[in-house]
């Protein structure tokens, strides 16, 4: 029997691949898939008192969620903020990647290391540094007041949606830079020269050649910025105030001081579903758009 | 000499729907320089990897020197391989590369040192012990790969297109050197190549493969002079194909009606039946004669030169004739592109130089 199995093993690539993958797949199953399943089932329970939960099945939590103006508006705001952040990050990062991919000749690696370095420093500290800058006693306000240019601090800087958007754009930049750079760098420069040779202007060449060919990077960037920012907790908690609050802050509250685990689980599930829907729409559009390229 | 040193018995290897090797059987003699020749995707490399143990056959078995090696992993086989890209370990130097495979052989330190020294002198790499792969030229890497495999004194050396990455001049040199080396050490070589000239010039025997099957297996000479089918005739060297119809048999000859030329009695090497109807005549360009005047050869046709290509040692002429629709390729060492000012010429064929092949 062992012999048979051994010879099957030696002959089969999938068997080898799956035995190599098994630790990772077991980890994902035990530490993520099963917990997510349990979280889903919690969303169908009821918190009866501070310590007790009624385990009978009900969809009331979902009804609660959608009847709550606060929760629905937080969900919409989270999605809206994420969209704006994604769009702004892409738009600002694209020219930088374009420059490095096509104009930088020496030490491209160094440019990229420098570009991604801030991303590796603590997320919490990066967000915090914006608090230092934008806060009521922060760099901008204090410096302007010290210089006598202001008598009262500018309050709109801090605890607002704008503060959240600026900070997130800064925090997630690396996630746009890397996929964009990789896809731009892959473009064979002779294609661009060919387009110019065939009579297209610089702008036309960009629209008709460069942009479509960098689409995979754009799509990749959209997904890996949008998905995590929808659920961002730190930035709105530190900088959002009431105006910039997002859904994650409520989820944290349900698992913390409000202590309503089922409603928290339902909110997390709804966030997950939102993310899944956006991912599917983006992937579907990508397929349609990139079919012709690849 | 053992005539069935390697036995390949009804070996098939399928990758999903693709039959990379399709029910192949043959034997390789001890001490032979044996080549597997064919276009890319013909299954030659798969067959070599089956011999090395990197692939296991879907069906069939392999015998080496009388023992079944079909299920043995590569490290347990008395074969060694020279890889197409040489696969020199980049993190250790030449000496360590050559020593790599000796660890498990249970040799003493002195034996190891002696073997490494001997093999490095055999491949003319003395003094390169401390170098790393990145500090070697293509030809030197090839020698390291060779030394690393030979130092284990394998029963069979497997070579996977080892000369493919070298430039033309170096390749010609290495061909000669490999051939000499093989005769010197007497180890059986199984050599995979897509280059027909390489296979023909180096090998004792060649197996021509296509679509997972052996098309013909014989000496290089035989391969060139007596191709067994259209594929081999086309793949080895250059040839002209003429359509013909069989008429009647006459002992070892057969009477065929060559399209546009009439009836001829031609040697029937493949023993084609007179009922075969459609057959193909193959005539090599260098067997024909091109001249300014008519000749008394079996067939002589008047033609007009449409195009020439000058190759130095000979010239190729592409000739249009009244009789044959196709352009005929003729090569000559006597005339060149300046010999026929008006383009008018005669081309002559000997019936002995026509080989008759089955239409597929």
């Amino acid at each position: 029997m062992l012999q048979v199995w051994k010879s099957f093993y030696a002959r089969s690539d999938p068997a080898k691949a799956y035995s190599l993958l098994s630790p990772a797949l077991i980890l994902v199953t035990l530490a993520m898939l099963i917990p997510l399943g349990l979280m889903l089932s919690f969303s169908f329970f009821t918190q009866t008192s501070f310590t007790e939960i009624d385990y009978s099945f009900t969809i009331t939590r979902y009804i609660d969620f959608f009847q709550s103006n606060l929760l629905v508006s937080l969900l919409i705001k989270s999605v809206k903020i994420s969209f704006i952040v994604t769009f702004v990050t892409l738009l600002t990062a694209y020219p930088v990647c374009y420059y490095i991919a096509f104009y930088v000749k020496k030490n491209k690696m160094l440019w990229l290391v420098l570009l991604t370095l801030p991303f590796w420093t603590s997320y919490l500290l990066r967000v915090f540094s914006w608090k230092i800058i934008l806060g009521t006693k922060g760099v901008i306000n204090s410096s302007l007041i010290n210089a006598g240019l202001l008598s009262e601090p500018l309050t709109f800087l801090m605890y607002s949606e704008t503060a959240v958007i600026i900070t997130l754009t800064h925090a997630w930049a690396a996630f746009a830079l890397l996929p964009l750079y990789v896809s731009l760098d892959k473009i064979d420069f002779s294609l661009i020269e060919a387009a110019r040779d065939l009579g297209l202007s610089r702008l036309e060449t960009f629209w008709k050649i460069t942009l479509p060919l960098s689409l995979p990077g754009i799509i990749g960037a959209i997904l890996i910025i949008f998905i995590p920012t929808v659920g961002d907790y730190v930035t709105p908690a530190l900088l959002g105030g009431t105006d910039g609050r997002m859904l994650s802050n409520m989820i944290q509250a349900y698992f913390g001081k409000v202590n309503n685990l089922p409603l928290g689980a339902a909110s997390a599930t709804i966030m997950l579903i939102t993310v899944a829907i956006v991912t599917m729409i983006v992937s579907y559009t990508t397929k349609k758009l990139t079919q012709r390229i690849s | 000499m053992n005539d069935s040193f390697i036995q390949i018995n009804e070996i098939s290897k399928h990758f999903g729907q693709v039959k990379a090797v399709d029910n192949v059987s043959f034997e390789i003699k001890e001490g032979e320089f044996f080549s597997l020749l064919g276009p890319s995707g013909c299954g030659k490399t798969t067959l070599l990897r089956l011999l090395a143990g990197f692939e296991y056959p879907t069906s069939g078995n392999l015998l080496l020197d009388g023992s079944d090696i079909t299920a043995l992993p590569p490290d347990k086989r008395p074969t060694n391989m020279v890889f197409q890209n040489y696969a020199i370990f980049p993190h250790i130097n030449v000496e360590k590369n050559v020593q790599f495979g000796l660890r498990k052989l249970g040799l003493t330190n002195d034996e190891i040192i002696k073997r490494v020294k001997d093999v490095l002198s055999l491949v003319k790499l003395e003094g390169y012990e401390e170098r790393y792969s990145s500090q070697l030229s293509g030809g030197q890497r090839q020698r390291v790969a060779l030394a690393r495999a030979l130092v284990r004194q394998p029963k069979v050396l497997l070579l996977d297109e080892p000369l493919g990455a070298l430039d033309k001049k170096l390749r010609d040199e290495m061909q000669l050197e490999l051939r000499t080396l093989q005769k010197e050490i007497g180890i059986t070589f199984v050599f995979v190549t897509h280059d027909q000239q390489e296979a023909i010039s180096m090998s004792d025997r060649v197996a021509v493969m296509s679509e997972g099957k052996i098309q013909q297996m014989s000496s290089p000479n035989e391969l060139y002079k007596n191709p067994q089918n259209i594929f081999v005739s086309d793949f080895i060297g250059e040839t002209n194909f003429l359509k013909a119809k069989t008429d009647s048999k006459d002992g070892e000859y057969i009477i065929v009606n060559i399209e546009d030329l009439g009836s001829f009695k031609i040697k029937n090497n493949l023993n084609i039946s007179e009922n075969a109807s459609d057959v193909i005549c193959s005539v090599r360009p260098e067997t024909m004669m091109i001249d300014k005047e008519k000749s008394d050869w079996d067939i002589c046709l008047e033609g007009k030169i449409k195009q020439t290509s000058y190759l130095g040692e000979m010239t190729k002429f592409y000739v249009e004739t009244k009789e044959i629709e196709k352009i005929i390729t003729v090569s000559s060492q006597y005339f060149d592109n300046q010999s026929f000012q008006d383009g008018k010429c005669f081309i002559s064929i000997n019936l002995n130089d026509i080989s008759l092949l089955n239409k597929k």
């Binding site: 690539d13 999938p14 691949a17 190599l20 630790p23 990772a24 797949l25 980890l27 530490a31 993520m32 099963i34 917990p35 349990l38 979280m39 990062a93 020219p95 420059y99 490095i100 104009y103 491209k108 290391v113 420098l114 801030p118 590796w120 420093t121 603590s122 500290l125 915090f128 540094s129 914006w130 608090k131 230092i132 800058i133 006693k137 922060g138 204090s142 930049a173 890397l178 760098d185 995979p216 998905i227 961002d232 730190v234 989820i251 944290q252 698992f255 997390a268 966030m271 997950l272 993310v275 | 143990g53 992993p73 490290d75 060694n80 391989m81 890209n85 696969a87 993190h91 052989l105 495999a149």
Partner: protein, 271 residues
């Protein structure tokens, strides 16, 4: 290649400024002896750094983060090494689904992972603490480690492993003598970067630590008090310098002996 484009160059430099200046404020103000963070700076002091020696809570949190980081990076790099080998070496049915499943923790909002682990941990009746945090970090670091290692292994010439088998080494001997030394820069890069990710991670720790604070948790607690800000600034500056050093070391290792334009930084978008 095009020649020059000054507009784009200026824009790129401004973008660099946008990326770096906010982070640089931490070290700058950590040496300032005023309570307000304002320009011009009032005076130079190192007292905020000296304070750090006395805070035992800080030392406890640091030690907790180091423990979690070491376990998380070693375990996730090991798991990821096997997985990366499978993806780089073999083609098999279910490849994309497996890849997606392993990448999910990297993609979905961290808060969802945190909540899911919290729910199962409490349901099983276990105590919150560094153990669930470590589990969460392993889950979160594995996709990162895998991306770094795939980038390393992908360009790997697998005929080297075949050559080793051909020369008489078995599977383990081949791994030890050929694969491991060649993967090593990637493995170390993965260990360092996974450690940094775990070391800086906040959300999972926030939900799962209970009373054993990690370093980010400690900072979080300090950030709320305006009078403790200079202390946080100093600590943050130290962390940033430390992180930068480790990350540069990891990048340098990762690119050791690799094609110079393999500039994916371990983050490869699977298409």
């Amino acid at each position: 290649m095009e020649q020059k484009n000054n507009t784009l160059l200026i824009y790129t430099l401004l973008y660099f400024a946008f990326l770096y200046i906010p982070v640089l404020f931490l070290p700058i103000f950590s040496f300032n002896d005023a309570n307000y963070m304002s320009f011009p700076l009032s005076g130079f002091t190192t007292e905020h750094y000296e304070e750090m020696w006395e805070k035992t809570n800080l030392h406890k949190a640091l030690w907790a983060s180091i423990k979690v980081g070491i376990v998380a990076s070693v375990v996730s790099t090991t798991i990821a090494l096997f997985a990366a080998k499978a993806f780089a070496r073999y083609k098999f049915r279910g490849q994309n689904i497996s890849y997606g499943a392993i990448m999910i923790p990297f993609l979905i909002p961290e808060i969802i992972l945190a909540v899911a682990i919290l729910v199962i941990w409490l349901s099983l009746g276990f105590k919150l603490g560094l153990v669930p945090v470590t589990l969460g970090h392993i889950l979160f670091c594995t996709p990162f480690a895998m991306l770094i290692l795939i980038a390393r292994i992908e360009g790997f010439d697998f005929s080297l492993e075949e050559a080793s088998r051909d020369l008489g080494e078995n599977a383990w001997g081949t791994f030890y003598r050929v694969s491991l030394p060649l993967y090593l820069p990637g493995i170390i890069a993965s260990l360092l970067l996974s450690f940094i990710i775990s070391f800086d991670e906040f959300v999972l720790a926030f939900f799962l630590t209970g009373s054993d604070a990690t370093l980010p948790m400690y900072m979080w607690a300090q950030m709320r008090f305006i009078q403790k800000l200079p202390h946080v600034l100093a600590l943050g500056a130290v962390i940033i310098v430390f992180t930068t050093f480790i990350v540069l070391l990891a990048f340098w290792l990762r690119n050791l002996g690799q094609g110079k334009d393999k500039a994916e930084f371990g983050i490869k978008i699977h298409e």
